[in-house]
């Protein structure tokens, strides 16, 4: 039972392909090419982030068409679509940070101290997130408009009539 493994003989094995021993050594080798690749990667991420930010707006015409097709009556299909329209903005906004995390720019290796550039933070990609918010609000607005056209929003005085109260009469007529 003295079988021991001698690890020392693997110490000088080369790293697997793609794994550099140290960044400094690789940057040394082709720092310029790497910099260009990461820059294009960042811009790609940014453009993907923009794409994602305006994606709710892109689907608006399709949703509008669906609403048109589902009709103005209060039925299971129209109600399903309306609920989807009303709920998805809130769902999207609740998950806004995780949704944008993949597109967050890779933090520069130097400033690890800065916490603002964490991919899950709200301040990452603020402009895209703002546009995303607006686009989701547009979806919500579409859903609300549909609700209104279906007569589901308490907009008129008639919707509040049942809650109105009147006091006792000021004068009593004996009849």
């Amino acid at each position: 039972m003295t079988a021991t493994v001698d690890y020392s003989k693997w110490k000088n094995l080369p790293p697997p392909p793609g794994f550099s021993q140290s960044s400094s050594s690789s940057s040394k080798t082709s720092s310029k090419a790497v910099a260009a690749a990461s820059a294009s990667y960042a811009s790609l991420k940014e453009s993907r982030a923009w794409d994602f930010a305006i994606s709710p707006a892109k689907s608006l015409p399709m949703q509008a068409f669906m609403l048109y097709m589902s009709g103005g009556g209060v039925q299971i299909f129209s109600m399903g679509i309306v609920f989807m329209l009303l709920l998805s903005p809130f769902k999207n906004l609740a998950a806004i940070n995780t949704a944008f995390a993949p597109f967050a720019p890779t933090p520069a290796p130097g400033d690890k101290s800065s916490s603002t550039t964490s991919p899950n933070s709200l301040t990452a990609l603020p402009l895209q997130k703002f546009v995303y918010l607006i686009c989701n609000l547009l979806t919500l607005a579409l859903g609300l408009w549909k609700c209104k056209s279906m007569g589901l929003l308490p907009m008129g005085t008639g919707d509040w009539l049942a809650f109105e109260t009147r006091g006792p009469p000021a004068e009593v007529l004996l009849m």
């Binding site: 005085t157 008639g158 009539l161 009593v172 007529l173 004996l174 009849m175």
Partner: protein
């Protein structure tokens, strides 16, 4: 047209009530055909027995004929008191006399006798109808039956009839076709003399009347030829008649001679009638008389004379023309032991005569009848006496009797006595047995209310003192309480399984042999209708079947000595079931007592609505009901004030002093707290026209200890208009919604000013241009909110019926003007709705806004007129517990139906074009001017409800269902209506069994599949 038809079809499809089901008729509704209170003042109109003989088998059949205060000629079956037939006369065509002969009964009606009709006496078929003169040209007499008379030429079936009308005109009318053969009018029509009686003989028709002379009347007789109608002779008989035509009789003796009999200076005088009128009058000797009584035996030559001491004598016209006293009733002289006697005559099937004397004995407290059969006991006369237990505490006093008798064996007389009571009851007594009673007083209900019944009391043995009860005692009590549990459980299971719940379309009337106390049914469809009649009686009627549960006679109080009448003015429910736990509901009747010495008092009767007991505790249960004199004088207004604390009746006397009832310290406290906000309108006469004056009550007491009201405003109606009627909203009409939501979700806020009321006016008789008006006024300050002018009837009168509920006014009138275009004369219904502000969404909160605010008159209205196919006599709306159900308009039409008009048909906002999608959301239909006469909307089914003048509606416990009770000068009818359908109960055809079976099946499926699914899950775990 196509569109309209489609819409109508659609509407009828959606319309909640299609019709009353045939299976529900007689179960949810009832109808009491009445004939009215008999007119007993004249022998022309009073009830009588009439017997006809069937020529084939010589069997006889009798009916009771009468004319009544409800303007009806009716025949009753004497066996059971049911109505054989009745004929109602038009309102302006009052029946004033009838006379039966053989199979026919002739009637005269209208002023002076304008119309002549002949009916079949058994079927009521109208045989002859002849207008003798126009209603306007008739002469009005007091009493109206003066100056008219009927005489049949013979008793043969189609004999001609001689008709005396207007006091001076005689016509011979053919009995076959009703043609007038000849007319004779007295040449002197200066109304100096009036003929009051007509008799026929083959040689002459005699008219007997009175001519006015200085101090008294003299008798005037005319003889007219029966064939040509020429005057044969006329004579003024030197005579002095002081008591008018009632003391003037014409008797016929066995030799068919006619004699005029009258009373002059206490002597009976007699004059034989001959065509030449040359005979001289003779006078009787002996006793002095003070009165002659016609016992309807003048054809047999008999009458009753009352001597000076009050005793009655039967006097017969002998064959030689002399008057003979054939009988004197024993002990009939005026006495304090019994009332003044009533005499009446009758005949049996052989034509023999009988005379009855009926009186009330104060000593024995029973009614007695002495029936004289003059032909029995070898012509000496046989008297049969008996007493009958007339219930004077529940029927008042006997005011008229009619006699029918049979002579089944020698020396035995059986008599039937038809009694008309002062409370409007009609009773038939066969000897001392009461055969039947008809409460005809119900045909003249002055005030009525429906009172909710309490729940049936659960039978629990209530512990006397629960705190100090020992454990064992409590246990035994609760075990004894639980003894009914198995029964309850079985009932519950059965009810659950079979679905045998209370049904809304079933009868809620109590079982015939049920002895349980009065309690409401599951849905509150059974109530008590408390109705006070003008004949001084108040009834508690079961609304489920029309049975009279209790009745009380109003006592006269101090006026008992002098006599008088009690006329109910108003009836208020002062305590309902919800007000006090365990106490019976109570009603208060405010009545006016008109004593015969012209004194008028206001009396209040406080009654337990379930038993009729006197709440005041003054009168005993088996006695007349004594009231409380609240005002020594007439009252100008009586109102019910109610708030959460109390229900108080507030009365005002002529000096506008306030009286409250019940006059307790608590009620006075409640009154003083609200007195500042109280106000009321009163009708007042300013100059010649009657106007409306608003009043408030001074919160400070006067030195008399009473609050006095003072006027605050006077109505601004034109001076030539006077108030015909005031229509207020129903007292208990909760408002479910303060507005009406339109298709575009804006709201029209209902104008619910609690002070608004409707005033119907008409121009005074002096006005040249006649018109009628409908006003809606704010009764706290007199401002006019709505005014419309309506054309009057052709006669210049106004016949407008209106109903006002929430913000909705509906009125009905007859448009007798032909306007431009193709407008025609028609009955119109106008529907008006009032809303706050002047457009949608305007809100002034009118229901709690002070009337003194500027915004209180900010109101606009929608109105639309519709053509209704019929005239109506009464109008009301349905009323439900919370006011959520749609309100339908109920009308009593002139063809004797109660018709419900759905609100959707008379919605004032029906557009006069194709309806838009938004209007469709409101269920509006395109305007169609004609309301179709749809027989399916008749709630009265096949019954003919004659003369309904009032419709009383009351909510049930079901929000969907409204109870309806109609009354008028004749029939009573009650039914239910569900204007929005019975949405709050399961429909009758709901399959409860199927539901239970489905639930049980599902339960079984779960029980079976549950272990299977469990096993499968375990197996899945193994083979995962």
């Amino acid at each position: 047209m196509r569109v309209t038809a489609t819409w109508f079809w659609l509407a009828s499809l959606i319309s909640p009530i299609l019709a009353i089901h045939a299976s529900e008729a007689g179960i949810i509704d009832w109808h009491k055909p009445l004939v009215g209170v008999p007119l007993i003042s004249s022998h022309h109109t009073a009830p009588s027995f009439h017997r006809t003989e069937n020529a084939r088998d010589r069997s006889t059949k009798s009916v009771v004929l009468t004319t009544t205060a409800s303007n009806v000629v009716a025949a009753l079956h004497p066996e059971n008191g049911t109505v054989a037939w009745r004929h109602t006369f038009d309102e302006r065509d009052h029946v004033i006399a009838y006379k039966a002969s053989g199979d026919r009964v002739a009637s005269i009606s209208g002023p002076g006798g304008a119309a002549f009709r002949v009916f079949n006496v058994h079927t009521g078929a109208l045989v002859i109808e002849q207008q003798l003169h126009t209603l306007e040209s008739g002469r009005l007499f007091e009493p109206p039956s003066l100056g008219v008379g009927l005489a049949f030429e013979s008793s043969s079936p189609n004999s001609d009839v001689f008709v005396l009308t207007d006091g001076h005109t005689v016509r011979r009318i053919s009995g076959g076709n009703g043609e007038v053969q000849w007319v004779w009018s007295s040449p002197d029509q200066s109304s100096l003399y009036v003929y009051s009686d007509i008799v026929t003989t083959p040689s002459a028709v005699y008219l007997v009347g009175l001519a006015k002379s200085f101090a008294a009347y003299t008798i005037h007789i005319a003889a007219v030829s029966p064939t040509t109608g020429e005057l044969l002779a006329s004579v003024d008989v030197p005579s002095t008649v002081t008591d008018g035509p009632s003391q003037l009789l014409v008797l016929r003796n066995k030799s068919k001679d006619r004699h005029v009999i009258w009373l002059e200076d206490g002597r009976i005088r007699s004059l034989k009638l001959s065509p030449e009128l040359k005979e001289k009058a003779t006078a009787t000797k002996g006793a002095l008389y003070k009165k002659l009584i016609d016992v309807k035996l003048s054809e047999d030559g008999q009458l009753v004379g009352i001597k000076q001491d009050g005793s009655g004598r039967v006097i017969k016209l002998a064959e030689d023309g002399t008057l003979k006293v054939t009988w004197e009733f024993e002990n009939s002289a005026t006495s304090k032991a019994y009332t003044e006697s009533m005499y009446t005559g009758g005949k049996d099937m052989n034509g023999e005569t009988y005379i009855a004397r009926v009186f009330w004995s104060h000593v024995l407290r029973t009614a007695s009848a002495h029936v004289l059969a003059p032909h029995l006991a070898d012509g000496k006369g046989l008297i049969t006496g008996f007493t009958f237990p007339f219930a004077t505490h529940s029927h008042g006093i006997i005011s008229h009797v009619a006699l029918d008798a049979v002579n089944p064996a020698e020396l035995q007389v059986l008599s039937r006595i038809l009694v008309t009571t002062s409370t409007g009851g009609v009773q038939l007594w066969q000897q001392d047995q009461l055969q039947w009673t008809r409460e005809e007083g119900l045909s003249d209900i002055r005030a009525a209310e429906m009172v909710e019944l309490p729940e049936s009391k659960a039978v629990t043995t209530q512990a006397a003192n629960e705190e100090n009860e020992s454990f064992s005692a409590r246990l035994s009590r609760q075990i004894s309480d639980a003894k009914d549990f198995p029964q309850y459980a079985i009932n519950f299971a059965r009810r659950f399984a079979t679905g045998s719940y209370a049904s809304v379309s079933s009868s809620v009337a109590p079982q015939a042999n049920a002895s349980q106390s009065l309690s409401r049914d599951t849905f509150g469809l059974r109530k008590i209708i408390v109705a006070a009649t003008s004949h001084g009686k108040v009834f508690g009627i079961d609304s489920s079947n029309g049975e009279i549960i209790w009745s009380r006679v109003f006592g006269l109080g101090w006026a008992h000595e002098v006599g008088g009448r009690i006329i109910p003015l108003k009836l208020f429910v002062t305590k309902t079931v919800g007000d006090a736990e365990g106490e019976n509901p109570q009603v208060v009747v405010v009545a006016e007592r008109k004593a015969d010495n012209t004194l008028v008092d206001t009396v209040v009767f406080h009654i337990d609505a379930l038993t009729g007991a006197d709440v005041l505790g003054v009168s005993k249960d088996k006695d007349v009901l004594q009231g409380k004199d609240v005002i020594a004088g007439p009252s100008v207004g009586a109102y019910l004030f109610q708030n959460d604390a109390a229900k108080i009746v507030i009365l005002f006397d002529e000096f506008l002093q306030t009286h409250i009832f019940p006059d307790t310290a608590f009620n006075y406290d409640v009154f003083t707290r609200v007195v500042k906000s109280l106000h009321f309108p009163l009708r007042s006469s300013a100059g010649t026209s009657r106007t409306l004056t608003g009043h408030k009550i001074n919160p400070v007491k006067e030195f008399t200890g009473k609050h006095v009201a003072y006027p605050t405003w006077t109505s601004a109606f034109p001076s030539n208009e006077e108030i015909r009627a005031i229509v207020t909203r129903p007292s208990s009409s909760p408002v479910a919604s303060f507005g009406k939501v339109l298709g575009n979700r804006t709201t029209l806020y209902k104008y619910l000013n609690p002070n608004a009321l409707v005033v119907l006016t008409g121009t005074t008789t002096a006005a040249k241009v006649k018109s009628c008006s409908v006003y809606v006024i704010d009764a706290s300050k007199g401002s006019i909110l709505y005014h419309s002018v309506i054309p009057p009837l052709l006669s210049g009168e106004c016949d407008v019926k209106a109903v006002f509920t929430e913000n909705w006014l509906v009125y009905h009138y007859y448009d007798s003007e032909t306007g431009p275009g193709d407008q025609t004369k028609s009955h119109r219904i106008v529907s008006v709705e009032f809303y706050e502000g002047n457009k949608g969404d305007d809100k002034t909160s009118s229901s709690d806004l002070s009337s003194y605010s500027n915004a209180s008159t900010s109101v606009y209205h929608f109105e639309q007129g519709y053509i209704f196919p019929r005239g109506i006599s009464a109008m009301a709306t349905t009323s439900t517990k919370y006011g959520i159900s749609v309100k339908d308009i109920l009308v009593a039409t002139d063809n004797g139906q109660i018709v419900s008009i759905p609100r959707r048909f008379i919605d004032p906002r029906r557009p006069k074009r194709k309806v838009t999608a938004e209007e469709q959301e409101e269920w509006l239909m395109t305007y169609d001017s004609l309301l179709p006469d749809d027989p399916r909307r008749a709630l009265s089914h096949k019954y003919q409800i004659l003369n309904a003048r009032q419709i009383l509606t009351s909510p049930s416990l079901l929000e969907s269902t409204s109870l309806i009770f109609t009354y008028g000068p004749l029939d009573l009818f009650s039914t239910r209506s569900s204007p929005s359908g019975t949405f709050d109960v399961l429909s009758e055809d709901f399959n409860k069994v199927q539901l239970v079976l489905t639930v049980l099946g599902l339960l079984g499926a779960i029980l079976v599949s549950r272990p299977m699914v469990g096993r499968k899950k375990v197996k899945e775990r193994w083979y995962e």
